[in-house]
Amino acid sequence: MDTQTSLHHANRKVMNRHDLTRRLVARLHREEAVIGGIGNTNFDLWMTGQRPQNFYMLGSMGLACPIALGVALAQPGRGVVALEGDGSLLMQLNCLATIGAIAPANLLVIVMDNACYQITGAQPTATAARADLVAIAQGAGIANSHWAADEAGFEQLVERCLAQPGPHLIAARIDSQPATGTTERDPALIRQRFMRGIAVTT
């Protein structure tokens, strides 16, 4: 298993979720919406500063990409980013095929892959063995799917994906550090702030 993993990721640096999330947020200049997946992904997004265009999930594991797809369909003029972990994406891999079929030009999926369910006790995910999320995304019809080789490569991919028609997927190997904080826990307030942040009034 270890041999397979090291071959698989030979030239890919193991980075840090909070650091990469800061680098992502620093490159959002057009009020792009960001949907943060449950758990550490969400928490580190929160800890980068509470942009009004961020949506934080407090459950419904696996639905960051479908929620982001919905926002992308409703607002085709706005860039939309789904921030997801490997465990969450594995729970709803089918959503990649739907994104591949619909091919929304304004959608970017970013996967933070620590090869474990860190928050539940660091049990290994299938990416610790042989599953390659970029290959899976490409096979699902998201041709523009790439591994980030290092931090500079991640930044370049983000800038390119935000500038060019998608859908896109970026995956990054990350360490198994927990998040640096946690979100507030008021779902209605989170939704209301997000809707105002993306200019929707009800």
Partner: protein, 182 residues
């Protein structure tokens, strides 16, 4: 009033699916997501054929729920059409997304498992549907008659939006004919 009705819609007038199609449009429902179902086929075909709707074939009901939730937050009202067994996959997504985040998720459920069901599994799963909806406090109505369809669907959609709460419309075999053996 009806000069803009297409030939297709005119042909559907007087059917449950044509009526429902019209109610959805009249309430500015613009996103139609579904997981395929035999009984819902004419409604699904009608959505695909009408450019008013963005129509999305989802692979799972909870995926479709996520899409509808995201679209609502982005300003687009949507519906999720599915069959009874598909609804049974939704409790976690309802309990952790649609209900607590106060999303007016519109659910259309083609009811299987009763009034002539031939598959024991469908009959079993049907018995879980209303208890789950009741446990989550989700408003639901079972529609059995064409002459009540417009009133129930129209009022339910308006209430869901006004109160920011999910609603389930269960389409009985008495309305749709259901699915029969063979």
């Amino acid at each position: 009033m009806r000069h803009d009705v297409t030939e297709r819609q005119a042909a559907q007038a007087g059917t449950w699916h044509g009526t429902l199609h019209g109610v959805l449009k009249a309430n500015a429902v613009r996103l139609f997501t579904y997981v395929p179902d035999r009984v819902l086929t004419p409604l699904i075909q009608g959505a695909h054929a009408d450019p008013h709707f963005t129509t999305v074939a989802a692979t799972r009901e909870e995926e479709a729920l996520g899409i509808v939730a995201g679209a609502w937050m982005g300003g687009m009202l949507g519906v999720l059409a599915m069959q009874t067994s598909g609804f049974a996959t939704l409790p976690n997504a309802l309990a952790s997304l649609a209900v607590p985040y106060q999303i007016p998720l519109l659910m259309l459920i083609s009811e299987r498992g009763t009034l002539g069901e031939f598959n024991l599994g469908q009959a079993m799963v049907c018995r879980t549907m209303r208890p789950v909806l009741d446990a989550l406090g989700v408003e639901h109505h079972t529609i059995t008659r064409l002459d009540e369809l417009t009133f129930i669907a129209d009022r339910s959609i308006k209430q869901a939006v006004a109160t920011q709460a999910p609603v389930a419309l269960i389409l009985s075999p008495l309305l749709t004919g259901g699915k029969v053996f063979g």
